[in-house]
């Protein structure tokens, strides 16, 4: 009996050398399990197993009112909490056909980009740590702390903000927000080149990442790989450009697209995105218009009967919020198209034929956040 169970858990042929990476493994960044079939050190097959942190957020949302949903979306992709919140808010606002004040749009966009930088910083440290350069972890977190301090001052929380609410923001930004943000940009413009010197330029790092895990454009579209991972393959999938929301139509920025599609360019795309995000913030930070921080919404928000879809660009790719409303105060069905879910399953294709160390590099470059996969 026990043997049968073991057999069911471990797939793969009997003569394969199968190792389990995860759910408790330093480089799976959470409770994800890779079942890796090896030949020597070369990977023959990777089967990802997820569900270790499945919480049924979609089911929970069906019993929650729209403002209550917001705090659950924080907990999907906790590194782009603000963007997740915003996507739901935008969806509700579009459904109600209300237009939030310009001030809200500007602040949301700035926060989105700050959140993106913070997320990429954490990704950068984790990526470095996956590759064995442990010092990167502390440099990344050191700089991320500055953003979290800004967040804490305005929202009261550092990671899971729940700062957006349908119709605007929970409260106005802190008076010091602009000053602190500008200080941060100034600081980070100095620190970001250090990232390049420490890791991107490093000959060992380049040898570890260049031409490893090459993702072609066709595969990127076929598998729905979005975000910087997809853009590194030439898939121009930036929702901020395709369907601009909030204040994105008002800013000019470059969509980072590379065509190589290997691990190094997935890395490079994110590093470059941090520069672009800083550009966006700099364009907006001095021009935040005066006004209310939120619209006056009804006490109970009921969406008209219908289906609403909102796309937003999180730090990891395209987030889709699909709300089906039957006119009640709770959604009839809500679906989150999470970027990591699609991004995860390419791993078998990318890692096959490479070494174990490359699997770690590839999964690091895909920047997976496991709660977002399982939801």
């Amino acid at each position: 009996m026990a043997d049968e169970i073991v057999k069911n858990i471990i797939l793969g042929e009997d003569d394969d050398y199968v190792i389990n990476m995860g759910p408790q493994h330093p480089s799976t960044h959470g409770v994800l399990r890779f079942e890796v079939s090896l030949k020597g050190e070369t990977i023959e097959k990777v089967v990802p197993h997820c569900g270790y942190i499945h919480r049924g957020i979609e089911k929970m949302c069906e019993r929650d009112t729209y403002p209550q949903i917001i705090h659950l979306t924080d907990r999907m992709d906790y590194l782009s909490a603000h963007i997740n919140n915003e996507a739901v808010c935008l969806c509700v606002e579009n459904a109600l056909e209300v237009e939030v004040p310009d001030r809200v749009k500007y602040i949301r966009t700035i926060l989105d980009e700050l959140n993106r930088i913070a997320s990429h910083q954490l990704w950068w440290c984790a990526m470095g740590m996956d590759m064995g350069a442990l010092t990167t972890f502390f440099y990344g977190l050191r700089d991320r702390e500055k953003i979290l301090d800004i967040f804490e001052e305005s929202f009261g929380s550092r990671l899971l903000h729940s700062f957006n609410t349908p119709g605007g923001l929970m409260n106005d930004i802190h008076p010091d927000f602009q000053k602190k943000t500008k200080e941060f940009i100034q600081y980070f413009r100095k620190k970001l080149p250090e990232y390049d010197q420490l890791l991107s330029g490093n000959v060992i790092f380049q040898a570890r990442t260049k031409d490893i895990g090459v993702l072609s454009l066709e595969d990127a579209i076929q598998y729905g790989i979005t975000g910087p991972s997809g853009r590194a393959s030439g898939f121009a999938c930036d929702i901020r450009k395709i369907q601009p929301y909030s204040a994105y139509p008002k800013v000019s920025f470059k969509e980072i697209v590379y065509t190589e599609g290997d691990t190094f360019h997935r890395y490079k795309a994110r590093i470059d995105e941090m520069y672009e995000s800083m550009n966006i913030i700099e364009q907006l930070i001095d021009n935040i218009p005066e006004g209310d921080h939120a619209l006056k919404m009804k006490a109970v928000i009921k969406l008209p009967v219908g289906e609403y879809y909102q796309r937003a660009e999180t730090a990891r790719g395209e987030l889709g919020v699909y709300i089906v409303s039957d006119g009640n105060k709770t959604p009839y069905r809500i679906k989150f198209r999470s970027p990591n879910f699609s991004n995860l399953f390419i791993i078998n294709k990318l890692a096959t034929g490479f070494k174990i160390a490359d699997l770690v590099a590839i999964s690091g470059s895909l920047d997976l956040v496991i709660p977002d996969i399982d939801r």
């Binding site: 009112t65 403002p67 924080d74 305005s154 899971l160 729940s162 609410t165 802190h174 380049q206």
Partner: protein, 159 residues
Amino acid sequence: MKEVLNYFEDIFFGIRSLWAGMRITGKYFVSPRQIVTQKYPENRKELKMTERFKGEVIMPHDENNHHRCTGCGICQINCPNGSIEIITKKELNAEGKEVRAIDKHIYHLSMCTFCGLCVKTCPSDALAFGREFEHAVFDKSKLTKILNQPGSSLLKDVK
């Protein structure tokens, strides 16, 4: 000949890139003023959380042990996780009419996600966020708190 040149070029650029990284770590090694970590329990006194820090939900009481909670239950309805339970009682007011008043405002810190909906939606501003952040206890039941202090009563002018 070209291969040989490439070979040495590889070595040269490799060493240069390695040195670039070593310069950074070396620079931080000799500049202890850039250390960012703090000695946490020792710095408790100067450790200030920001004004808006969401540590826990509290019910502010004034010096006469008055709070502003009418026991309307809006926070309970708005809480996504059921971390607030409100037990009301009937009380005679100054005019001798029987009105609803708060008996116990039970707050389960263990279930709270600090989304802020209760504080935001409270019509009489009875709730606020406390800045306490050291919540570790040895017994889970200690995380269930009664927010209104014993013997407290409603402030006069709160509707």
